[in-house]
Symmetry: D2
Subunit: 389 residues, 4 copies
């Protein structure tokens, strides 16, 4: 596909995701971790306007000089910004204005494309992958918002869902040894996936399928949420403080577990992979199952060597036992976009794979997603690992 078509396709998809939303749906922020849909639409546009049009297209005039303050996410180099936890206060600009902002920037980008240098085109490519990340966040944030509403609104009756039927269980063995980890080649990758480097692995096995809701119910029935011996210390404190008894969105109704989805409240599908579990829960489950979570290098090596492994990229993000830290020799990109990944490298765990909410083609074996161990509003699940016998 031509670059311009790619640009148009990605940008159009964002607007498409918002088509089912009212101005109010797109405005409200349901918790500090989440952002309003309108904010996602505007922030991704600000990214192109700032790092491409403002910095590299002579004569470009900002659509609105206030938008830098409103829609900068966390780029300290770009100065002060609206507080993250107050993004939901912005009833203006309204959704229509944000869509007009998008159209304006898209026109400017398309007009500028023929004259841009490869470096700037690379920034646009970064912007498109950035936008794809926000497309997933937009969906998970809307899911969280709608879950707060006792009316349980439906986003889309045919909404993204991780409900892939569970394949038969099995263990994929990997011999370990020195394996190359990280991205290589000319195709796009985020800076945190580089530099490619060798890692020495012990032999290990990876489960051929994700942990299912049925598996999870067995964990719950066996007192999983009530046995401190299964839990990390921080995890047990979290379970007690938040009174956690099941994955996020689960509710017991008339003796049956239901969950809230983008298609509304639904019975928990026993064969679907469990989702919306925290790292703490994933780790406790693994302890209960007498297994462990995979290290990120194990996951990557297995994904490269066994590309036929089911549920790698299309079901849910898979918690790894690896903290999100820089690879040996890591260098952030120069300029403001150097803040993209590197500064988040403390306190978070890596997830690998991709989810039902991830845009097609966005993921790859070297992709590193990351969240705090208590977070679970993403489509996060579990693939088990174990040491070779």
């Amino acid at each position: 596909m031509h670059f311009k078509e790619k640009y148009c396709e990605v940008r159009a998809r964002s607007a498409g995701l918002a088509a089912a939303l009212s101005d109010a749906d797109a405005t409200v922020q349901s918790m500090p971790d989440a952002s309003p849909a309108k904010w996602h639409l505007a922030h991704t546009t600000w990214f192109f306007e700032t790092f491409v049009l403002r910095d590299h297209v002579p004569g470009y005039r900002l659509y609105d000089a206030n938008y830098g303050f409103l829609f900068n996410s966390y780029y300290e180099a770009e100065g002060e910004r609206h507080p993250r936890a107050r993004r939901g206060m912005l009833t203006r600009p309204d959704l229509a204005t944000v869509l007009a902002y998008r159209a304006h920037v898209d026109e400017a980008i398309k007009a500028a494309l023929p004259d841009l240098s490869p470096d700037v085109l690379h920034l646009i490519e970064l912007g498109l992958h950035h936008e794809q990340q926000h497309q997933e966040l937009l969906l998970t944030d809307i899911l969280h918002l709608f879950a707060q509403n006792p009316l349980q609104p439906v986003y889309a009756s045919q909404a993204p869902s991780p409900a892939v039927a569970a394949p038969p269980t099995g263990w994929i063995e990997h011999a370990g040894g020195i394996v190359p980890i990280g991205h290589c080649g000319a195709s796009f990758a985020f800076d945190c996936e580089t530099p490619r480097h060798d890692v020495l692995l012990q032999p290990f096995s990876l489960s051929s399928r994700l942990v299912t809701n049925s598996d999870w119910l067995a964990f719950m029935d066996d007192g999983g949420y009530r046995r401190p011996a299964l839990w990390l210390s921080d995890g047990w404190a979290w379970v007690q403080a938040e009174r956690i008894k099941a994955p996020l969105y689960w509710r017991l109704e008339d003796g049956r577990w239901t969950t809230f989805t983008l298609a509304g409240r639904r019975p928990v599908d026993p064969d679907a992979p469990v989702t919306h579990v925290s790292y703490y829960e994933a780790d406790a489950y693994a302890a209960w199952a007498r297994a462990r979570l995979p290290r990120e290098a194990e996951w990557e090596a297995a994904a490269r060597d066994h590309p036929e492994l089911p549920q790698l990229y299309n079901a849910c993000w898979q918690w790894t036992a690896s903290a999100y830290l820089p690879y040996p020799g890591f260098r952030p990109a120069s300029g403001a976009v150097g803040e993209y990944n590197g500064k988040f490298m403390s306190g978070q765990f890596v997830l690998r794979g991709g989810s039902c909410a991830t845009p097609a083609g966005h993921c790859r074996a070297s992709y590193r997603n990351f969240f705090y161990p208590h977070q679970r509003w993403q489509f996060t699940g579990v693939r088990l690992a174990r040491d070779a016998a």
Copy 2:
């Protein structure tokens, strides 16, 4: 005016206040003390639907059985309800649906009116005064919401404003003695204004005008916010914890103070009464001015005996030195509406008068408004009192 016309007029005014709002404007909650405009519109309607139509009109069917949970404010007798601090999560029903709900209930009320007993008509009258209270809250809540937005949206260029020119200063003397306090007669009053009872007052004087912004600037220039000796202990703790340096919405821009109004950000008018000050600030100002705040019985006696006193009902609410407590012999109304006032009688101070945001005709000399001493997002100001020489 006929009762039906009164009903229609009050109800129409609420919808009119929302005419300038988008669905998003009407949905967002800017702080737990405030409610979304849409919620005000729906809650006041739920009041009529529940206490009149459901309870007293045979055959009436609820518009939506979920609305009781969503739009009950604090009536424990009506059961569980959506948490107050999460009212802003309700992007559905949207504003149009809420307006349709209003129309539906209005039609049912109007149809039922001819057959209702006097007791039920009294509930409707209560509902109309209740709705007028929410009309004022709707305006102050929108003001607070818009103040969170760096774009500083304008609600209405001709918006309610307390900016009445300051009359010449003077002191109205009152001889004290035994004075009747509280509502009497057949006209409407809230239960907390009764029973009428005698109170013994010492002689006192009341300022003939409200404290102005110009007065307040003198207080600030004299270190008013930096001198603990002027403040109540709780007030000084609040000043320090919240870093209070001026009334709410004030901002120093290029050496001049501005304030945020329903008409957008404006220069502070020196002649207008100061508004958006807390009880703590009002009390500190009075100490600085070597005066005191009036007791509520003093205010009421003076308002009755000097109805020509300026700025009684149309500028801003006036903090009194009286805690909001039951009058001797107070009995809450029976039924769920008995929760209307009585259960709030701890920790709050009485304000008297009325503000630029209060609907015309809503107030009277016996009217008791009440807020916590730190709250200041209402149009709250100061009238001074002093003991007779």
Copy 3:
């Protein structure tokens, strides 16, 4: 008694209260509302050293120049001070040093007494009443501290206790009318008890005895803590947030209620007055009992006119329905001691009477104690009132 003897007696009593305490007992602070026993002993001494010796005795040299910072409670006029919530960090000076500080100041005061002016003697008198207040606080703070210890230490096997046998119930009627309220005469009173002024009261009745533990158990058995209709709104929020199910220190053990006392854990005595209840609980109980709490003027008038009324001063403090506010014409004392009472006049309720922990002779009919409505670590109880039939 001579003034010097009175001084020595009061001062000796404080030291006596600490005799059963270890250095550690006297140092730890169990919550921000409470203070360490050592701090009480030092603060009361600092009061004499500062306002008498430093200000009025030429040539006096401070015992330790740091003590002003450490042991000033809340006198803003005396400058910066150690934060209240960190009083328990002061393991030094130790208890023996604080007792030596006391002895030093006592010697200086006694030596100075013959030369002091009446004004300064009045400050000493204030200091003695101040010290008596801290004697009660010392006991209630030790009770709270010991209650945190699973070993349940005993302060004294013959400790102060409100366990006076309940007299027969009855109602004392009062005709109301214009009654003088507040202190008058030459004897000591705090500034907040003045000026004496007339208040107009409706006829009322006061219960001849306090609410007992047996009464309270009936309230609990009748769902008192589970019925929101009985509670003030703030009170119900407090019950839910703090999961309140019984008075402070109560615990159900093998089906029987026990309470923690200065003599250790004991069975709840059904005939003793209930203590350690908050204003919210007192008010809810009164609602349940179809009565109300007395207003402070009613309590004072009844106490003056019926001095034989049982349990006035020796059992527990009695919550009134009156907010702690200045009397008409109230003027705080001049100088730093003007901060003694006036600045606390917001958000608190008045209690009348006196408790088993109050020093003999400290109380009087006009005495106004005050606490926030949620506080209950003092010996606080309930006397009911009702309007005349």
Copy 4:
């Protein structure tokens, strides 16, 4: 040294550390992260009493059946326990009683030694290393407690101090490659140091000396605490929320920086290694110095291969860039002591080395200390690393 002598020596050292403390000093808890000295003394004793005497010595009777509840730290398998944040409430048992408890348990252990199996002797060895860890905590917790006191008490005029003169700077190069990491051999190590396993390292250099206070002042002078570009995102949020401007205990007095030490407040020694810095600060400093923090495997390999490297074990703990996670094949010990390390493996970073407060002989190249990235009340400092050119 014979095992019994080793036992006696370690146990005696703990009591010796408490010799300078009053009962109150030993009782107060200055923050939830710290524990009272008395608690350290009792908890380490409870460890021997529970896991050795109770479990393996027939006929042993508990010294006090309540102590399990009071002095269990975090062993869920041992049941409910006193809340960590409330350890400072335990004014009883007093210090003398805790010392008597220690003597009692010591006698029982010594009497039992001849009959104990190797497995149980291993538990005693674990208990001694455990006790040495608490010896260091006792010192850092006392330092923190005394730092809260405006009197700035001196623990010991010849107290442990990291003030080793800075050696000349240089970089120790390491060729990387496959290196064995983790403990091996018969000598003692904690479970988290095992199993020994191979790690593949890139070539790297390690600074020959720690970052000094002089270095740190240069960082501060260059705006280190004011430049968000140097900081991790969580670190910058921490700097702003806590208003961090210097290492813990530093204070600017008359233009010179001082710090609080166990010997009282002292001028900052420019040549001494900086201590009491968080991971966030260490990481920001490294970014400013155009270097990085070492990974724990790099540190361990360099320490093994260059045992002459200065300031390895005797100055301060050195933050590494490695999250505290299980080694491949890690298995916690069986029984309650399996909770010793494994359950803390989330959210923390590894520190290597040892500090001036660490008992002699306690450390080794494979030792893994760990703290949360914001914590800095330990003697924590910085050794820089960089990739090979």
